[in-house]
């Protein structure tokens, strides 16, 4: 693991195009899913996806290989979204997809069914997406990072630039909100 992180750091330092191609392939699903959950918009997530990798190319020398690459990658993606948000004069991630303020989370894409999509039960999936859409973005984000991306709490604190205690409290609240939303959806 450490060797792999070091080799990624060395490759990024040299702006190795083959390494970048491989990383884009390797992390495409996870990064896109994360961006989709925090922006709630497919087209916007695609833009941020591309922009994130451009940043990885430009600032790759700043990755030291001591922390997980995906944590650094998500931090870049998240801050691109937040920087963009600031230009729109919004104060938090919530303004993007707050169920009470804006449009709901747009994740399901019926015109492009993926093989994985077909395998999973449609009903459960729609229910989860709808439930996630009802949760505040700050909670949705921690749930995605912890339970989908399986980052450690300390890594999440780094990605989100918040204390570990705040990550934990957001996780507890998010978990409760998700449970409640799924239950309400099933009822």
């Amino acid at each position: 693991m450490r060797d792999e992180m070091k080799s990624i750091a060395r490759g990024l330092q040299k702006r190795d195009p083959d390494l970048l191609d491989r990383l884009i392939e390797q992390y495409q699903y996870r990064l896109f899913r994360y961006l989709l959950y925090i922006t709630g918009d497919k087209a916007r997530a695609e833009d941020f996806f591309q922009e994130t990798w451009i940043r990885v190319l430009e600032r790759g020398h700043q990755y030291d290989g001591k922390s997980k690459f995906e944590a650094w990658l998500f931090a870049i993606a998240r801050h691109l979204v937040i920087d963009w948000q600031r230009t729109k004069k919004a104060q938090s991630l919530d303004a993007l997809t707050d169920p009470e303020q804006e449009r709901p989370l747009q994740i399901a894409n019926e015109s492009e069914p993926s093989p994985l999509h077909q395998v999973l039960a449609q009903e459960t999936e729609v229910n989860v997406q709808a439930s996630l859409g009802k949760i505040r973005a700050i909670y949705r984000e921690v749930l995605v990072l912890r339970f989908q991306e399986e980052l450690q709490i300390e890594e999440m604190a780094g990605v989100l630039s918040i204390p570990v205690s705040t990550v934990k409290s957001r996780l507890y609240r998010g978990l409760e909100a998700l449970r409640g939303a799924l239950q309400a959806g099933a009822a």
Binding site: L20, R33, E125
Partner: protein
């Protein structure tokens, strides 16, 4: 059963999923869940929520990776083309500095000779000589300042260790 026991059980259910439990907590919870239908159901709901979250699929847009790879390679080419120019700038800066230091005694003699010829006050000559000698240094400082200003525009989170 008291309300406090249910509260504790539900807190431990959440804690077990978020950060894990100590053995004593785990034993207590297992025992409680065996005898409490309400808390057991809540624990199952939490598990169901997490399972659903883990298995939820997101459709990946067609060609997203290849489009991104193309853009990244294009940008990499741009950056590579820019690199020699920057290197040249630094080389020129260093060369002019070295030349400035090496030629300082000779230049001072020329300044002194001009001073004798024109009868210019020594202070003016010294200022002129100082300026001549510091121009490459000033140029280097300006380049350094511009470079550091560009880097300070990078937000804190981009720096290593974050």
């Amino acid at each position: 059963m008291s309300e406090n026991l249910h509260d504790r059980a539900l807190q431990l259910v959440a804690k077990s999923r978020v950060e894990g439990l100590a053995q004593s907590e785990s034993d207590w919870l297992a025992e409680h869940l065996q005898g409490c239908e309400f808390c057991s159901e809540r624990a199952q709901q939490t598990d169901h929520a997490l399972r659903s979250l883990r298995t939820a699929a997101v459709p990946l847009p067609a060609d997203l990776a290849s489009r991104t790879q193309f853009r990244v390679r294009l940008r990499a080419t741009e950056l590579r083309e820019r690199e020699p120019k920057r290197r040249m700038l630094w080389l020129a800066c260093a060369a002019s500095w070295i030349f400035g230091i090496a030629s300082a005694p000779y230049v001072w003699r020329i300044f002194a000779w001009i001073g004798q010829l024109t009868g210019m006050p020594k202070l003016v000559l010294e200022i002129g000589f100082g300026l001549w000698w510091t121009i490459p240094a000033l140029f280097a400082v300006i380049v350094l300042l511009l470079e550091s200003a560009r880097q300070s525009e990078e937000p804190e989170w981009m720096k290593p260790g974050r």
